[in-house]
């Protein structure tokens, strides 16, 4: 037990130090990949580190198939994720809200931007309609960037375009890009659909793009005039693919293939499909928290936790004497396990979560209190110390179980129903109950038995008694 306590404490402090160092380097502008223990920092919620949270609701009127709804939400999410990544925010979070038992919520998108306080700018960047464009490439300059485009003939009938897979990121400056790309009339609004397919014979991953009527016409003209030239597909100005036009395409369906991994092909199909937003979104709520406020809350919470803990420790020691000391050790173990879990799982800490944790410190001793009170009672009834401990323990167990199970039911329901804020609290509360029960029981049991295995002296009885009661003499049976 002691080993566990020390190990856990060591893990928490060193990993926090390592994480701090990484953070300092990052702040200094260095690219650092956290390794070793630094991979486990405390995850602070937005309300503790400051930042902005935006919640969007997708308009799903007319889309009833739940699978289709989910698909659209996912494409929306990855699209917005791209946009947010472009903002240069560290560790942004974009997630589809999970619907609770009470229903609703599954068509929401939550965007969290740590450190961002300019709401207007954030809303603008995220909310603008994504732009899908098709552009011809200025041959002279393009040679320098994409010298590897190849023309290959494929037997498959529908395959009209071949491309060498490109990394989506171009390291060219924006201005140069504008010179290279000559935008065509064709854009995302003319894409009727795009899908991923696998060529059954070559087992190549491909993306099939379909245009609408106008798109088909424009696409035909472009392919007529620019045979043999590359045609770039740009999303928000960033080229995501640069296939070469091999022949005139009249049917309004183009196949892009060559060198994709399945994931790349799927992503591209999704990007193309999203040329128009998969669903209309509306901003439902926004929240910003200044960095100083979050800092205050965090410091206050930690301080309150430490002071509360000390008060509890003093009380336990005064009231329960030796077992009180054991209870403090159990509480220490509880703290270490909880903090390690916060780091390992990881649990995102919010103001509510910290409050829940502090509350759990007070309640964690409950199991100990129950056992000790029962033990004292057995002692008063004149049982020998060892028997009193064993009986006190086994009789208190039912109460501990029933009480904690009901608290856990509450925590589970809270988690199901709650918004992210409440979920943070519920998770900490639930884990706290479970861990406190385990530590209190196992630690108490082991320690007590170890303490009393050898001898039974009157001194020990005094130490085990508590509060205002006097040690009862041992009755002879």
């Amino acid at each position: 037990m002691l080993v566990l306590l020390v190990l856990g404490g060591y893990f928490i402090t060193t990993s926090e130090q390592a994480a701090q160092e990484v953070k300092e380097k990052e702040d200094a502008g260095e690219e650092v990949r956290p390794v070793g223990l630094a991979r486990f920092p405390f995850q602070l919620g937005l309300d503790l580190q400051g930042g902005a949270q935006l919640i969007y609701e997708a308009d799903m009127t007319g889309i009833t198939d739940p699978q289709e709804q989910r698909r659209r939400m996912n494409s929306l999410r990855s699209l917005i994720e791209q946009r947010v990544d472009g903002m240069g925010v560290s560790e942004p979070l974009v997630q589809v809200e999970r619907g609770g038992l009470a229903g609703g919520g599954e068509h929401r998108l939550i965007v969290e931007l740590p450190g961002v306080t300019d709401l207007e700018e954030a809303v603008e960047t995220i909310g603008k309609t994504p732009l899908l464009e098709f552009a011809l490439i200025d041959q002279d300059q393009a040679e320098e960037i994409t010298p590897e485009n190849e023309l290959e003939v494929n037997d498959e009938e529908s395959v009209d375009i071949e491309e060498k897979a490109e990394e989506p990121e171009e390291e060219t400056e924006e201005g140069v890009m504008d010179d290279i790309f000559q935008r065509t009339e064709l854009d995302g609004s003319m894409v009727a659909g795009a899908r991923y397919e696998m060529n059954p014979t070559t087992r190549e991953h491909m993306v099939i793009v379909e245009f609408d009527r106008e798109g088909t016409r424009i696409f035909r003209e472009i392919t007529q005039q620019h045979q043999g030239e590359p045609l770039a597909i740009l999303l928000d100005g960033v080229p995501i693919s640069q296939p070469v036009i091999r022949e005139v395409i009249r049917g309004g369906e183009a196949t892009i293939s060559g060198g994709f991994t399945m994931q790349q092909a799927r992503d591209l199909a999704e990007d193309l499909e999203m040329g128009a937003l998969p669903v209309n979104i509306e901003l439902m709520s926004t929240e910003t928290i200044g960095p100083t406020l979050g800092q205050d809350v965090l410091e206050g919470g930690v301080l309150a936790g430490v002071v509360g803990l000390m008060l509890v420790a003093v009380f336990l020691l005064l009231w329960y004497r030796l077992p009180g000391l054991l209870a403090i050790a159990a509480l220490g173990l509880y703290l270490v396990i909880m903090l390690s879990l916060f780091k390992l799982l990881p649990v995102t800490l919010t103001a509510a979560g910290i409050a829940g944790f502090i509350l759990s410190i007070g309640m964690a001793v409950d199991a100990n209190v129950l056992i000790y009170e029962r033990m004292k009672e057995e002692l008063r009834n004149g049982k020998p110390l060892r028997e009193a401990i064993a009986d006190g323990f086994s009789r208190a167990w039912l109460s501990i179980r029933d009480g904690n199970v009901s608290s856990m039911i509450t925590a589970i329901i809270l988690y199901w129903f709650g918004t992210s804020l409440v979920q943070g609290f519920a998770l900490v509360f639930f884990v706290g109950i479970l861990v406190s029960m385990l530590t209190a029981i196992s630690v108490t049991r082991t320690f007590l038995l170890a303490c009393t295995a050898e001898h039974e002296a009157r001194v020990l009885r005094v130490l085990f008694n508590s509060g205002l009661s006097k040690a009862a003499p041992i009755k002879d049976n």
Partner: protein, 307 residues
């Protein structure tokens, strides 16, 4: 045990407090936060020694949006919290700018803006959560105490625990009706979370007492001891109240620390919990057990009349 003997007095006190809370809630109403009503909240901080008066802030706000109504409230020494109906992002920016004036510099500390439909959804969610928690607890207690149906049917333990729960929730809500009316304390998501935590705490407390009662009843049966139900309840209470009080004390220690030094965000949260824990401890000792005694008495009189 004096608690059982003078149970009418303790029951009366509980009933009075619960009723008073109900009346306060009814008369004063509850100060719902924008999380439940929808709207925009903004907290701005000014520099030390350069904090404008509340009226001036209201004038500035009204100056930009004359048709809106604003609730302005001082928070701490240098900060103000401003609430109004939902603002668009641009409107919001304009308002923040308007709050820096005449050399006063406003710094945005936090803000939140919530659409009305979302508020309504949250309100429903909170309500459903509370109801489901209560239902789940009745079921659990009835299940755990299923073997103890003599002399009181097991579901009555569940119902009694719920009466205690409702009592424990009504009192903090009543307190908040008062605080909301005079100090502008708001019912927000944290408040609801605190209420649900109280539910867990309170039922835990009550269960421990009932658990002891169950054990004593079983022992009496085994040893064929004749003991009036009243006395068994009294004995069980006597055996458990130290534990109830001690656990509450340790919980109150940490909550007190959270309230006094934990910062403004979780201050009211801590206060709700403190009230709830006190009410919960009271109810597990002075309310739940007396009710069980009363219920048993009724049942006994009824069977006696039936014979």
């Amino acid at each position: 045990m004096f608690v059982v003997k003078f149970r009418k007095i303790f029951l009366g006190l509980s009933a009075f407090l619960a009723l008073a809370s109900l009346v306060l809630i009814g008369v004063l109403g509850l100060n719902w936060g924008i999380e439940f009503t929808g709207g925009t909240m903004l907290e701005v901080a000014y520099q030390e020694g350069q904090v404008p008066e509340q009226e001036k802030i209201e004038q500035q706000a009204k100056g930009v949006y004359p048709e809106r109504s604003f609730t302005i409230q001082q928070a701490g020494e240098y900060s103000y919290i401003i609430r109004t109906s939902e603002l668009e992002e641009e409107e919001f920016g304009t308002l923040v700018q308007a709050l820096s004036f005449d050399g006063y510099e406003a710094e945005e500390k936090r803000s939140s803006s919530i659409g009305p439909s979302m508020g309504e959804e949250l309100r429903n969610k909170a309500l459903v959560a509370i109801v489901v928690v209560i239902a789940a607890i009745i079921l659990y207690i009835a299940y755990v105490f299923r073997q103890v149906s003599y002399p009181v049917s097991s579901w009555k333990y569940g119902v009694t625990a719920i009466v205690a729960l409702v009592h424990d929730i009504l009192i903090p809500v009543g307190l908040f009706a008062v605080l909301g009316y005079w100090l502008g304390a708001e019912i927000d998501v944290l408040f609801v979370t605190a209420l649900l935590a109280i539910l867990g705490f309170s039922v835990n407390d009550t269960i421990v007492v009932f658990d002891r009662l169950r054990e004593n009843l079983r022992n009496n049966e085994e040893n064929e001891t004749e003991e009036p139900f009243e006395e068994t309840v009294g004995r069980s209470l006597k055996q458990t109240y130290t534990r109830s009080i001690n656990t509450s004390l340790t919980t109150l220690f940490v909550l007190g620390a959270l309230y006094l030094i934990g910062g403004s965000v979780t201050q009211y949260f801590a206060l709700v919990l403190i009230t709830g824990v006190v009410a919960g401890t009271y109810s597990s000792i002075f309310l739940a057990s007396p009710i069980i005694v009363e219920l048993e008495e009724k049942q006994r009189l009824k069977t006696a009349a039936g014979k």
